[in-house]
């Protein structure tokens, strides 16, 4: 008998303190898909309201992860500082912070803020200098690899913050190359994933490169097995939630918790089911509203959007582990996204079956990092 996934006790909220960015990355998903709007900077006063609204609206969850996103979130340090200060001041013990950053904005004040908030940093670094700098340049054309390496080293030396490295895999740069590169950096966790773009767009993977990417996912799966067998938490966590899903025999009603446990908040306080879904039909409310407004609107959005699956999903062997795909990315990448999610699910089963066949399923509990 299959169980349905139990109620989530953790919420993740993507907050964009600004849509502005000091870089002009050629493959930027936010810019290329016109997700950002001209909203300026979130004010510190509104940032405080973000924390208060989440605290009130999500009173039943045990953990609220505020994930700073953008744009480059650290461009608006006053808003980030206001959120961290307010969360610490509330003393709920429920708030934690993550920031997706390009690693080019660094100051003593920033180091103080991230230390105070114990902010987990996901730093974008594609590969060695030549690979990284080809795409990730500042608005004036200056390359950024040296800045990013300095950022990682400084954060590691001067704070206790956890650092992850994140790479975009694009035409001419394979997953295996990126993973091997990231594992040489002074970071604990890595994430390297295929560019999300339409076929034929600049840097999109060719059909042949997509096949290599899928083969490389198996390589990553082998590294996960090696780490678990050695009693280590895998550096690459992309399969973790699904392997645990197989272990716990649960299925997904939807791809993620958008609208229920995941929300996006824009610089002017608008609340959406995800920061990447900000069309007018999906607007749930504003953090200045009574939190019941966006919480209730989120529940209705879920029924309207994420519980309605494509006919082909019903018969898909990966549906139980996939839940119907990310509505944002699927709308951009179409069937190619399905293809990759499908492969992720296949490798998930390879990892699970390896430990089942060796009668060592207990080793999979090593995926739960906090223990």
């Amino acid at each position: 008998m299959q169980n349905h996934a139990p109620a989530n006790q953790a919420a993740e909220i993507l907050v964009a303190p600004t849509w502005e960015c000091n870089l002009r990355c050629k493959y930027c998903f936010v810019k290329n898909n016109k997700i950002e709007k001209d909203e300026g900077m979130m004010t510190p006063e509104l940032a405080v309201r973000v924390i208060d609204s989440l605290n009130e609206g999500l009173s039943s969850v045990s953990s609220i992860c505020v994930h700073f996103y953008g744009g480059e979130p650290f461009i608006n340090l006053p808003a980030i500082k206001a959120m961290v200060d307010r969360a610490v001041e509330l003393k709920t013990g429920r708030f934690c912070f993550v920031a997706t950053t390009n690693g080019t904005v660094l100051s003593d004040e920033l180091l103080e803020v991230i230390e105070k908030g114990k902010v987990v940093l996901s730093v974008s670094i594609d590969g060695p200098e030549a690979v990284h700098d080809e795409c990730r340049k500042k608005a004036n054309g200056t390359p950024t690899h040296a800045d990013v390496v300095r950022f990682i080293e400084t954060v590691r030396a001067k704070t206790s913050c956890h650092v992850m490295g994140a790479s975009v895999i694009r035409s001419g740069w394979t997953l295996r190359q990126a993973v091997d590169y990231l594992r040489t950096l002074p970071i604990r966790d890595i994430k390297a994933q295929a560019i999300r773009s339409q076929k034929g767009e600049p840097y999109a993977l060719t059909d042949e490169e997509r096949e290599i990417y899928k083969k490389d996912l198996e390589y990553v799966g082998q590294l996960v097995i090696q780490d678990l067998e050695a009693g280590r938490l895998p550096m690459d966590g992309r399969f973790s939630s699904r392997v645990l899903q197989v272990l716990a025999n649960t299925s997904r009603d939807s791809f993620c918790g958008a609208g229920l446990y995941n929300f996006g908040i824009t610089p002017n306080g608008k609340v959406y089911p995800c920061i990447l879904i900000n069309n007018s039909e999906s607007l749930l409310g504003n953090v200045t509203d009574d939190p019941k407004v966006w919480v209730e609107a989120g529940k209705q959005w879920v029924q309207r959007v994420t519980r309605v699956h494509k006919p082909e999903c019903q018969s898909c062997s990966s549906f139980k582990l996939c839940g119907g795909g990310c509505p944002v990315v699927s709308s951009v990448c179409g069937e190619e996204e399905c293809d990759l999610v499908h492969k992720n699910c296949d490798v998930t089963m390879q990892i699970y079956n390896h430990f089942k066949e060796t009668d060592n399923l207990e080793a999979l509990l090593g995926l739960i990092g906090v223990f």
């Binding site: 013990g93 973790s240 699904r242 645990l244 025999n249 993620c256 999610v341 509990l365």
Partner: protein, 74 residues
């Protein structure tokens, strides 16, 4: 930790055992013939909660990064 893991593995495959572990932990231990105490039960339930949380996360996409080591509270 060995006993805790044993409890978790059994609770993941046996819904009734899990319920019992939550409601009548000592009886659950006796029924399963597992030598353990309140500490092991507490840790096992914590681990089961963490699994429940992690199984709803999605780590496929760069956009949805969460700390794989679990939350670090401010």
């Amino acid at each position: 930790m060995k006993i805790t893991k044993k409890l978790v593995m059994k609770a993941l495959t046996d819904v009734q055992f899990r319920k019992m572990l939550e409601e009548k932990p000592m009886e659950a231990l006796e029924m399963a013939n597992i030598k353990g105490g309140q500490t092991e039960v507490f840790n096992a339930l914590q681990m089961l909660n963490e699994i429940a949380t992690q199984t709803t996360k999605i780590n496929d996409l760069l956009f949805c990064i969460t700390n794989p080591n679990g939350p670090i509270y401010a």
